[in-house]
Amino acid sequence: MNALARYRVETDRIEADVAAVTPRVSGRLRGDPMNVTVQDLVKTFGETAALYGVSLDIRGGELIALLGPSGSGKTTLLRLIAGLDFPTSGRILFGDEDASTKSVKDRNVGFVFQHYALFRHMTVFDNIAFGLRVRPRSQRPSEAIIRERVLTLLDLVQLPGLDRRYPSQLSGGQRQRVALARALAIEPRVLLLDEPFGALDAKVRKELRRWLREIHDHTGHTTVFVTHDQEEALELADRVVVMNQGCIEQVGSADDIYDRPATPFVFDFIGDSSALPVEVRSGQVYLDGRPIGIDAGGEPEGPATLFFRPGHVQFVNDDSGGIAGIVSGSRRVGDIRRVELEAGLVRHRFEIDVPADSQAPKAGRIAVKPTAWRLFPKDE
């Protein structure tokens, strides 16, 4: 709590300074946005496959999120783009240039590690200067230029005056900023971040999120970050890549992902939703043999899964169709009250939202009809 308070005071104090230096910084740091193309990427570790033929076009200057549960292959994909691992097959293009066989050393990417991987025996200054100092003599800037650049970057990441500190003397959020400054110092063509806010507490995470967006808009780097936090992905990224079990499920804007989920996985993974096993018969949707008053649209006949969000329902008269359920519980979630219902003989669970100020139905029967929904045919 104390560290957070200190951190916030610091942030406030330097906000004005940053505003002053920002134009200078953006002119200096802005690189040419680089398209990154991933083609049919396959990666296996021994017997197990981590990626099954993934293809993705990342536009220059875009801020893109790789979102998925653990084990979905998102970090593997990021490390392949960075060159920290090599694909079993497939290609990675930086612009028009095939980078697949290049090592991470030659790809010129800025990589921010989940646990920052700051060099603990070096000061903040030396950490940020590292990438410049290890350059071959012919490309190495003079110490004076390195110094100016490091101090500029420290301003950019809002940590002026901390150049002599050691990583162990910094808070988590400050370390994250140093890690980003260090990655930006080498003028990377692409910026890659692995769970950039994963190790931070919720409050700092939200602040850094906004701040990363600002940095991205200033510097214009093509940026890819990995996260398992859907809120983070949807809020921060231009486009979100939803991954599951080594495959891409959907690529799209926050609106696309949330309002038009392409697969059952995306519907289930993003936001809250209920899924009911239904049957499509002659254009109507049946639950446990009862029509529920939903038009099946063009969906094929046979078993299917009906997805809808808890907020997208309206109450209907029990006799006029709809999904009838018996209230089994309710809980307060933020601004709304979520009611848990059990439908039909096999007690399919589903949830609906009611206003928080409405009386929580303790028991009894409620019938609802989804106002927005999606039907996915059963795989088998």
Partner: protein
């Protein structure tokens, strides 16, 4: 309020479950200190008392004796070769074990420990069997006029064998705990292999490395068994300090024997002091290495 005040001390006076009575505690500590004094401190004290029995002049005269000087010189030479050799090996082995996956890794870790489980006499004997006049390579070496056993090279080899594990055992757990992220970060920033090693890996393990070198050096200078087998005990030529002490002792030159012994004991004390300082200042970093079992 007063009830509460009365209740608290009553509870406080109750012992924590793992604390014994005053008496038991006193006896345990007393026994420990008694044994420590009898078996460690007293002998150490005797070494210095005996060494200085004839006075300071006799002490330094004994140390200036040519065979003694030669023994000291040889010991320093052997340590100067064995310690850097094992430093290099230890770095290479721990780097390979901590940062890469390869077949036979478990076997390599086990093999590194071999010198600890083998009697030093056997360690020496191996080299006699290999390089001695009747050994496997004896005749071949002799035809080139190369003498290994009963000469300095044999002593160096035996010492390297005996001190093999010290640096590696210190670094392996340390490097394993640190993982490869720092190295990945360095490479992603454009550093080459050597730059990464020199600027990132080595500084990350430097205190652990110093600790290992320190222990390695203490053992290299103090090793008796293995060196005794391959040395041949030629005065002024193949006697290291420990061997020379034994010879002096067997010759009833007590004062001289203890004078040289006091030097070795001093080395042990200095090692201990530096070790303590390292542990005190960089305890956290060394802890992971110590947890794996302090080797000594």
């Amino acid at each position: 309020m007063s009830d509460l005040a009365a209740a608290v001390p009553a509870r406080m006076s109750r012992q924590s479950p793992t604390t014994e009575s005053r008496f038991t505690r006193g006896v345990l500590i007393g026994v420990a200190i008694f044994f420590l004094g009898l078996f460690l401190l007293f002998p150490l004290l005797v070494v210095f008392v005996e060494a200085l029995r004839g006075g300071i002049g006799a002490y330094f005269a004994a140390l200036k004796e040519p065979d003694t000087v030669s023994a000291i010189r040889l010991t320093l030479l052997v340590a100067a070769i064995a310690v850097p050799a094992n430093l290099l090996f230890g770095l290479a082995a721990s780097w390979a074990i901590a940062k890469y996956e390869f077949r036979g890794k478990a076997l390599l870790i086990t093999l590194i420990d071999l010198p600890f489980s083998v009697s030093p006499v056997i360690s020496g004997l191996i080299y006699v069997i290999l390089f001695g006049a009747q050994g496997y390579f004896g005749a071949w070496l002799q035809s080139y006029g190369i003498q290994i056993v009963f000469a300095v090279p044999g002593i160096v080899l035996a010492t390297i064998f005996v001190t093999f594990p010290f640096v590696a055992r210190e670094l392996i757990p340390l490097m394993q705990e640190q993982g490869t992220q720092d190295e990945e970060a360095a490479i992603s920033l454009g550093a080459g292999g050597f730059q990464t090693f020199w600027r990132v890996t080595l500084p990350n393990v430097k205190w652990g490395l110093m600790y290992g070198v320190l222990l390695c050096n203490a053992r290299a200078m103090g090793e008796f068994g293995a060196v005794s087998v391959v040395s041949g005990h030629i005065r002024g030529q193949t006697n290291t300090m420990p061997l020379h002490i034994e010879i002096l002792y067997n010759d009833y030159q007590w004062a001289a024997a203890f004078a040289v012994a006091s030097l070795l004991a001093l080395l042990a004390l200095v090692t201990l002091i530096i070790k303590t300082i390292l542990e005190w200042r960089f305890g956290e970093e060394l802890a992971s290495a110590g947890r794996q079992g302090d080797i000594r």
